[in-house]
Symmetry: C2
Subunit: 249 residues, 2 copies
Amino acid sequence: MPHAEEGTGHPGDGGLLILPVRGVGELRPGDDLARALADASSGAGPGLRDGDVLVVTQKVVSKAEGRLIPLDPDDLEAKARLVQNESVRVLRRRGELVISETRHGFVCANAGVDLSNVAEGEAALLPVDPDRSARRLRADLRRHLGVERGVIISDTFGRVWRRGVTDVAIGCAGVVAVLDLRGTSDAGGRPLQVTEICLADELASAAELVMGKDRNVPAAVVRGVPTEWLGDGSVGTDVVRRPEEDLFR
Amino acid sequence: MPHAEEGTGHPGDGGLLILPVRGVGELRPGDDLARALADASSGAGPGLRDGDVLVVTQKVVSKAEGRLIPLDPDDLEAKARLVQNESVRVLRRRGELVISETRHGFVCANAGVDLSNVAEGEAALLPVDPDRSARRLRADLRRHLGVERGVIISDTFGRVWRRGVTDVAIGCAGVVAVLDLRGTSDAGGRPLQVTEICLADELASAAELVMGKDRNVPAAVVRGVPTEWLGDGSVGTDVVRRPEEDLFR
C-alpha cells in the first residue's frame, strides 16, 4: 500500500496510487460539492484518508458555484463575445481559436469557456477565484469527514510548443504548489540546476490519467503523498507567471 | 491492485500505481541500460510486468549512450557555446538563460544541456533521437525479460506561462503519445471540445512525482495502464509542434 517515507520528502517504495472517484452525479448551482465528493468516495470508492490529495476538475466546481451561462452552441458570435468578456488580453487568434489571458492570469484557449460536459445551451466559466474554491472545498471536507487533505482544482490547457493538452492546477489548498529545491544538491552533491518543481501541475496531470474526458469521473484521489507536499500553496501566487517576468507575452 | 478495465480505454477502479525504480547505479557510456533497469526493478523493486509503462529520465539514457561532453561548470563562455551548438534557433535570452529550439524541435532552456547528476567536469546532452532510444530500450527489455511494455524517456522542461518545471516525454515507444478522442462524446453525448490528450507528458509528470531530483531514482513504473494506451507513439511525430502551426515562435 502506498505510504510516504517519513521525513524524506518523497513517496515511499509503495509509490503513489491514483484512484478515480466515480458516481459524483450531476451538480447544479448551490449543491454541496464536498458532500457529493465525500459520498462518491466512500462505499465502493477509494475512501478518504488523512494526507490524501483530492484533485477535482474545474467543471464540477464551476457547476456547484453557479458559473454557468446560457449559450447557444451554434451562435459563434455569442461565443466570441463571451470569450472576449472573460479575457483581459487576447494574445493570438486563429480562426475560431482564441488564446487569451484570463482575469486570473491563466493563458489558455477560449478563456476557459467550456461547452463539454455541461447541459445543452449552457457554457461553464472558470471559478472566479479557484484558490478560494479549493480552500472552501477543503474546509467543507474537513467538516463533513474530519480528514485533513490537500485539494487541487484542475483544468485542461494546451501548450505553446507541444501538441495535445494536459491537465494543470488552476487552484489549490493544503498542497505545496511549487516545490522549491533551491539550496538542494543532486545525488552527487552538486547544486541542482532545476529547482522549482510544479507539483500541483504534475498532480493534476497524474489525476487526469484516471479520469478521461468522456465519462463522469470528475475527481481523483492521490494516495501516498509525503507530508512535505502538504502545506500552504496557491496557484495564483505561486504558479501564474506575471506578464513582466514572462518572455513570450 | 491496479489493473485496467478491459475494453474501456481507462484505468480500472484500482487506479494507477506509480512506483519508483531505485538502485540503478551510476551508468557510463556503453553500459547496458535495459539490464541495469531490469536488475533494479527486480528484487526489492516493483518488478516488471506485461503492460506496465516504464518512464526513464533522459539523464541515464544520455549517460548510457555516451552523450556526455567535458565542460568546466565555471566556464560560462564554454557553456554558452555548447548551448548554441545544440540549438537550431534561439528564441529568447535573459541573462544566462537561453530558450532555444533543439534539433528535435523541443523548445526548452539551455537546449537540454544539463550539469546536474553528472560527473564533475561533464555535461549531459539530449539523446540524438529519443524516440529511437526508447524503441531500443523497449526491444532490449523484451529480450532480457520477455515482457512487453511501453517506454517513455522523460526530461524536465519549463513552461511559457507558468512557473516551475514539470517532466514531459522527449521520446517514447510502445505507448500512444497523444490520445485522439476526436469523434468521442462527453458524458452527456455532446462532441468533446478537448480531443487530443498528451498521454505521454501526463505519464512523465506522474512518474516525476516518485523520482525527485536529489536522489538516484532515474525511472518509475506505471502500473494499471489500459491496453488502449499501448501502441505506436512517437514524441517527435505526435507531440512536437511544427513551427508553422505554432502561434508563438
